[in-house]
Symmetry: C2
Subunit: 152 residues, 2 copies
């Protein structure tokens, strides 16, 4: 299960992607539209900003907007920022590998072998699907590499 927070993050990014280009959308507006607790959403957007996915303008008429084109932001990237590793086992994570303390030999671990297939399929979907392609208005699914979507 992905966290509620990650779901909010994705919904917020989708909302920003739908907004007219270069127009800032206020936290309040997104929170209201998407039924996300406002203060919680503030934290989430701040985190996405720290990771360079969105930018913000302060003051009256301020708000958030995407910092990168919507077809260069993959679901996988967002999930890794908010929820951490996607892999089903620590010993299968690329961003935060950790050996399983109780596993004698990784190469012969049956559990690992099975879940590595799960991990592969999951990354396949999440790293190839961008915010734009989820909205169904891009070519990123067809040639994602060209758009700089993070490689698996």
């Amino acid at each position: 299960m992905i966290s509620q927070k990650a779901k909010y993050a994705l919904r917020a990014l989708l909302a920003l992607a739908r907004a007219p280009h270069d127009s800032a959308v206020s936290i309040a507006q997104i929170a209201d539209e998407q039924s996300i607790p406002k203060k919680f959403l503030e934290q989430i957007l701040l985190e996405l900003k720290h990771h360079g996915l969105v930018e913000s303008r302060r003051g009256k008429a301020g708000g958030y907007s995407l910092f990168r084109p919507a077809d260069t932001i993959s679901f996988g990237e967002v999930l890794r920022i908010i929820d951490g590793p996607i892999a089903p086992l620590p010993c299968l994570s690329r961003m935060a590998y950790r050996r399983c303390a109780d596993c004698g030999d990784e190469a012969s671990c049956e559990v690992r072998r099975v879940f590595s297939r799960v991990a592969e399929e999951t990354r396949d979907v999440l790293d190839r699907t961008s915010i734009a392609s989820a909205l169904g208005r891009t070519l990123a699914d067809i040639a994602p590499d060209r758009y700089g979507i993070q490689a698996r």
Copy 2:
């Protein structure tokens, strides 16, 4: 991430599947071999027993053994027993569907659409892989339906 408990459960079942047919293996032996805390493993095996995956004999020379053939026990079934739903979103679970409170319309939810593909791929692997096939000694991967592995 799957839970430590689920990993223990799978490892215990794999150990039972490796044991000579119809011979009971004691909790202590499995715990020792697999480096699983004994009292914790007791709980896990008991739970698997209640769900009809293993059987037990008490007394001296007692222990656990598989109740069903190893190629009829899928990874998915074990995970659902120990960790609950496999789906990445409550609104995608077949065993425990729950509408997302904050989602207006499921049919048009982009997040749901993307993760339904993840769920499908994941189930594909987990429900088609059995304890036996993980050990690499069965035909269940080739014709799983014939062996009664739970359909997706």
